[in-house]
């Protein structure tokens, strides 16, 4: 009868571009991986060569002075030859970012998990979380420096304050997606409250949790660099103010390039995590 129709699986997975639906833009290029054809590789490289080579050519042709905009080759030389100078600052920035983000994200995650269980508490708390999300935490850095000095502490606190609410608000959206039938399913097999949380609620919230972690960590990076520019003598943000005050623009742009690399690494990491843990949500 209709056995054939019923036993042919409906493979709605498209093989390559199955991005997990959590990140637009870059996802198409990042997600396709091995499925890329040699023509696509050629075009990607060609466009990069045209953009970088074109910039090099135009900057030389119009004799743009180095203190206005250095050429890509000058930036590359500054990045490679002076890398040992940036290295300790890179470590400081990464440490502040990781510690601040770990603190903020953990608190944000736990708060989201707890608060969504109590709708009334959620109503009371949400306006303050929104306030934390929308207020630039950089504004607090001068105050934090007054209290904690010029070390890493004020920046770590600022990063935690910037990333935590982002993680919380997104994770809360995930935890709010209650599927009565799935919870009933777990209960019908004898699940207790903790098991319902770990086996049903967390996996169901996972796509939004990962989005929150991604946005939160990018906000954390912005805040780290901003806070380093405000005060202190360490970190990549501090190097930006330092090199620009000395009009050493190749070095300045080399630092920006490092920051961009950190940002992209964060994005790629969470994109990978999303593919791994949340790709079921097409």
């Amino acid at each position: 009868m209709s056995e054939a129709a019923n036993s042919v699986p409906n493979f709605n997975r498209k093989g390559s571009g199955d991005s997990g639906g959590m990140a637009g833009g870059l996802s198409a290029s990042l997600g396709s991986g091995a499925a890329r054809t040699s023509l696509e590789v050629f075009v990607i490289i060609l466009v990069a060569v045209i953009i970088i080579g074109g910039a090099e050519f135009l900057l030389r042709w119009f004799e743009v002075p180095q203190y206005v905009l250095p050429t890509p080759s000058q930036i590359a030389v500054a990045l490679v030859t002076e890398f040992p100078n940036y290295w300790p600052h890179l470590l400081v920035t990464l440490k502040e970012l990781l510690v601040g983000f770990a603190i903020g994200a953990s608190i944000g995650f736990v708060l989201a998990a707890v608060i969504t269980q109590f709708p009334f508490v959620e109503k009371v708390v949400t306006p303050y979380i929104l306030l934390l999300v929308t207020t630039p935490m950089l504004a607090l850095v001068p105050l934090l420096i007054l209290r904690f000095g010029f070390g890493s502490e004020p920046r770590i606190i600022a990063v935690a304050l910037a990333s935590g609410p982002m993680v919380m608000i997104n994770a809360a959206t995930g935890f709010r997606r209650v599927d009565r039938a799935k919870i009933a399913l777990a209960r019908s097999f004898g699940a207790n409250t903790l098991q319902i949380f770990t086996k049903i609620r967390i996996p169901m919230a996972m796509p939004m949790i990962i989005v929150g972690l991604m946005v939160g960590s990018i906000f954390g990076l912005l805040t780290t660099v901003g806070a380093e520019m405000v005060g202190g003598a360490e970190g990549l943000g501090n190097r930006l103010t330092y090199y620009s005050s000395l009009i050493r623009m190749p070095q300045f742009f080399a630092v920006i390039l490092i920051l961009a690399m950190i940002g992209i690494s964060i994005y790629v990491f969470f994109f990978w995590l999303g593919k791994k843990w949340a790709s079921w949500e097409a």
Partner: protein, 273 residues
Amino acid sequence: MSAAASKPQDTVPRTRLVVDHATLHYQTRSGPLHALDNVSLDVREGEFLCIIGPSGCGKTTLLWSMAGLINLNGGAITLDGQRITRPNPEIAMIFQDANLLPWRTVEKNIQLPFELKRKAMDRPRINKLLERVGLGGFNDKYPRELSGGMQQRASIVRSLAVEPSILLMDEPFGALDAFTRDEMNLLVQEIWMETGKTIAFVTHSIPEAIFLADRIVVMSARPGRIAAIVDVDLPRPRRVEIQTEPEFIARVMDIKVMIDHQRGARADHSMIG
């Protein structure tokens, strides 16, 4: 349990699940909703019971109460004399739209009840069950890679895997097309005849109920009440084709008249009220 199941068919089957004057009302925004009103019925050992009624008649609520997922306001539900207030390992539920967890493969879905009970899953037995329902080799597929019928087959295996003696099925094939539905009904009949499980099956399709059931409980809506209980003595195994026979159609008409009569009576009543 197995001793009881192996009893010869001609002895009077004992009663397993008893619903005794079950009453349930919810508070909704538009006032209290009387979902169940003094519902009494019993489910006998090894029988196939269908519960049918218009939408909103409380048949799903009744089934969820029998599974221990909803607590009653009045009356009681007992399994072998023991009151049911929470889910019982003797009872497994099969939900609407299969209700597979989309982040788990077929095998991991079937493994869920074992994880919850911290027990090891008997893999060869699961593979046998999967093969029995026509899903052999689909262990590592995700639900989204399966058709609706195949998803429901996987969910049936998940429920059979925990070896319950009673299966409660909540409109399991409501979302499937007619052909797939016929296939699934045949499969359920086969599984029921092979395993001797007690099944309570909620549906809003009269032909489906007549095709599957030994007895049909007809419910009326608002408040949810039992309007009639109908015996179906068609010989088994029943073939899909019997649905076109005049006798079968006459049975469908009988039940349809019962439901329409109830709805008509309610409409009249509301006109007066």
